[in-house]
């Protein structure tokens, strides 16, 4: 089959909404885009463990500790499946981590904001996981099979994440005045970054067009963002939280909440490495990875000797 025929078959596959599987032929650019997207997603799950891990030791009740630990564990687990999904495209985890450390691979910018108070743990679950769910539900229909199936598994756990975050916000809004203040402060700091999680507006998004054609992306940034805004504004008002946007208004005709303009300058600053925690997050990940090298080496060396011992047993 000529390259041209292969491309034709690939395009038909996409057109008919069939999944692309690891052994199928795919255009090099599709493979690259998939690797970029899945590894970025995997790194985001893992780097996201840091701001939440920052509160595990200070979680205020045993129940809160257990829930938070279980959530962080889920996120790490998501990282694992996503690394495996990316590996089906011919890259290994070590290489992906190297790219992350060299700044060639990115992770979600949202984790470059600090988790300053306990209410931030509520806000992260409610807003950050809430935004992630909207995106991930849409990705359940993405064209690359292993990624789509990974999303189905992940989405099942994500709704628990959002609920536990909202529950923390509810508890705090029903609490003493200091707790209410903490909750509102967290809302003020996380609202806009959460909206930015969907990426630049449709007109300016560099990857969107091709990704939509290949059905990697199924819905545009702005559509997904609006879906998140509509469900979240009501949840905020329901517990007495103010949305930090003086231009926010409900459009009766369209049935949607309209927000003020997002500060895209801040978005680009954070993406380019100038967010409050970019440096800290990367340093933390690199340190843990380097500190763990002797452990990984030891495990490898041990597995090697075991294998040789087995061989000797057989030949003797």
């Amino acid at each position: 089959m000529t390259e041209e025929d292969k491309l034709k078959r690939f395009n038909i596959c996409i057109e008919q909404d069939e999944k692309i599987e690891p052994k199928d032929w795919m255009p090099e650019q599709y493979r690259k885009t998939m690797i970029r997207q899945i590894s970025q997603h995997a790194h985001s799950e893992v780097i996201g463990m840091q701001p939440e891990g920052n509160w595990v030791l200070r979680a205020p009740t045993l129940r809160a500790k257990k829930i938070l630990l279980a959530k962080i564990q889920d996120e790490g687990g998501h990282g694992l499946y996503l690394y495996s999904a990316a590996e089906t495209l011919g890259i290994d985890r070590g290489e992906m981590i190297k790219q992350l450390h060299e700044g060639k691979a990115k992770y979600s910018s949202i984790f470059n904001y600090p988790a300053l108070t306990w209410a931030d743990i509520g806000a992260i679950g409610w807003l950050v996981d809430g935004a992630a769910i909207v995106n991930q539900v849409s990705l359940q229909r993405t064209s690359y099979g292993p990624y789509a199936r990974g999303m189905v598994r992940i989405c099942k756990e994500e709704s628990f994440h959002q609920r536990q975050g909202y529950e923390i916000m509810v508890t705090m809004m029903n609490g003493i005045s200091e707790q209410k203040k903490m909750a509102q402060d967290a809302m003020d700091r996380w609202w806009w970054p959460a909206l930015m999680m969907f990426g630049p507006p449709d007109g300016e998004s560099v990857h969107t067009k091709q990704s939509m054609q290949w059905k990697i992306k199924r819905e545009s940034n702005d559509v997904l963002r609006q879906r998140f805004i509509d469900k979240t504004v009501d949840q905020a008002h329901f517990i007495g939280l103010e949305v930090p946007d003086k231009d926010l208004k409900f459009n009766e005709a369209t049935g949607h909440w309209e927000t003020g303009t997002i500060n895209w300058k801040e978005f680009h600053e954070v993406i380019n490495g100038n967010g409050p925690c970019n440096h800290q997050r990367m340093k933390h990940h690199i340190k843990a990875h380097n500190d763990g090298k002797w452990v990984r080496d030891a495990a490898l060396a041990f597995a090697e000797t075991e294998k040789n011992d087995q061989k000797q047993l057989i030949t003797n």
């Binding site: 500790k65 630990l69 564990q73 452990v295």
Partner: protein, 250 residues
Amino acid sequence: MDTKEALYNYCLRLGDNNLVLGQRLAEWCSNGPILEEDLAMTNLSLDHFGQAEFMYEYAAELEGKGRTCDDIAFKRNEREYFNALITEQPNGDFAFTMMKHLLFSAFAQHLYESLSLSNDKRLAELSVRALKEIKYHFRHSSEWIVRLGKGTQESAMRTQYALNELWMFTADLFEINKIDETLIGIIVDSNELFPAWKKTIETVLNTANIKIPEKVHMLKGGYNGKHTEHLGHLLCEMQYLQRAYPNAKW
């Protein structure tokens, strides 16, 4: 001290061991040598917090003052915690943490096995539950100790160092005080667990080519609330929100 009060204190001891270990393991979160181990340690931590919770719930019932497991977990001072000294020691490197968990989980396994036969039915039930988890903890840490002991020169050195440093805290696990004396018949005398524990440990350490250090001066006092300086810092961090906002509900 009557039996009920002694049993209350004994549950605190069991709960405190778990609380402190859970807290220490949680420090590994996002710091593990490989993602799989990061998750494994988070998982062990979760088990320990779960065990602490049910031990404190029982303690609160025995006390009968309407306190919750969180009141017990978060609202005491350093001298009122009765965990063994080994549990509060800082994590050190991965070999140090695994060694700590090997020594402790082997102890806890024998302890819970004996407590699961206790004639205090509730304590027996809780021990059965805890035993299931702790068996896995023992397997996890013993496999790592063997892997590290026989891995590379560096890993063997670190593993041996860990045991040399931790050995002085092992006798503390088997200490008995007035609480144990009052509960004779309900709990086993910990001294009786020592030979079985030693054998379990030696089997793993021999396989790993790690030697038990000789002539070590033993530090004791955890069960009587006499701790090392490390505990206070751990509690300070853990209790922060409960102390800062004593009227808040979380």
